[in-house]
Symmetry: C2
Amino acid sequence: MSELAVTERTRHRRMRENGSVRRADLDAVLAAGFVCHLGVVVGGAPMVVPTVYGATADTLYFHGSVASRSLQQAAEAGAAGAAEMCVTVTHVDGLVLARSVFEHSVNYRCAMVYGVPRVLADEEKLEGLRVLSEQCAPGQWDYARRPNRKELAATTLLALDLAEASVKISVGPPDDGDGPDAELGLWAGNVPIRTVFDAPVATPDLADGITLPDHIAALRSV
Amino acid sequence: MSELAVTERTRHRRMRENGSVRRADLDAVLAAGFVCHLGVVVGGAPMVVPTVYGATADTLYFHGSVASRSLQQAAEAGAAGAAEMCVTVTHVDGLVLARSVFEHSVNYRCAMVYGVPRVLADEEKLEGLRVLSEQCAPGQWDYARRPNRKELAATTLLALDLAEASVKISVGPPDDGDGPDAELGLWAGNVPIRTVFDAPVATPDLADGITLPDHIAALRSV
């Protein structure tokens, strides 16, 4: 499916020119990060916690003890709606500096995924952990020691279908160059913002003779 | 007040060693960014949207049409709880690569602020916009054209007291160097992550002879 389904909550209300229904845009935004903000309802009030995630073509996997507590409360209360969650992934790409304060904005890419997540077990949990691990630190799943039975049991992993999602992308310079503000003689433009990975730092207690593996050296982006 | 009040929802449940109740830590986390994730409840379900913010010693100001819609719905429904919001500010500082997948984590600083925001008007709205503008792009409030009456009316600005907040900070290397995994001969450490501002890019329609002001050049962090 190359287009995202539009539902009541994924319909773009504001800044519609920034809204995208392209499935490829959703995939790209999700692939570009590894930390999401998870929104749950606890006792009727919202709670937003950052957590790590990994995404495949149809599923978003994420860590979440807060989420599982929320799911449990919802189940006990028999309130189906309370199990609904929203996972938001945002990349801040730049400041947009216009001639007027009012026209200032931020360039960004943002995906919001809605639904009731499933708590994973067994093989699916292991596969979800692999996806999540590979998204955060590609290569570590094959390099580091994998979870044993006890560690797997102590890990909460949830999965959300990528069935209901919305994407917004804002790029480019300010657009107040064709009005009276352009005559003010003020500088306008944008300041790109990037996330960079610096050189890996070995843990102080690393034994002698252990060299930095290529897949970790490759994380460096500067 | 140098310590944050601990309430039912700000009490640290997990990773307590990362929890902070130092007021100075909250201030520092809020000062270090300008994009937050705002959690609201809409029709019983959570919604998490990124938005810009600015903070003073006692107030968090943020943009939010979604928030104001949510407040309006709550008022109409007479449901006080539905007006509750959660504003989360997260800085991702690095990947923590341990010998085992299970011990992998992320270094981060995160602040969560809870409460029912106020919709601002008049002088307070203008002051909030100044705080927000100066946090996003220091110097622009004095340089760019300020909002006129019509623009002010078209802007929704909310304020949340910094009365109920929690902070978590995670730093340093992995801590699995004293167990059997240390004998695996695997590299372990952390990969620092930073957000950088690149060189400002002038808008293509900038008139000749307008130079980049110092306060915008100073944003560059590389």
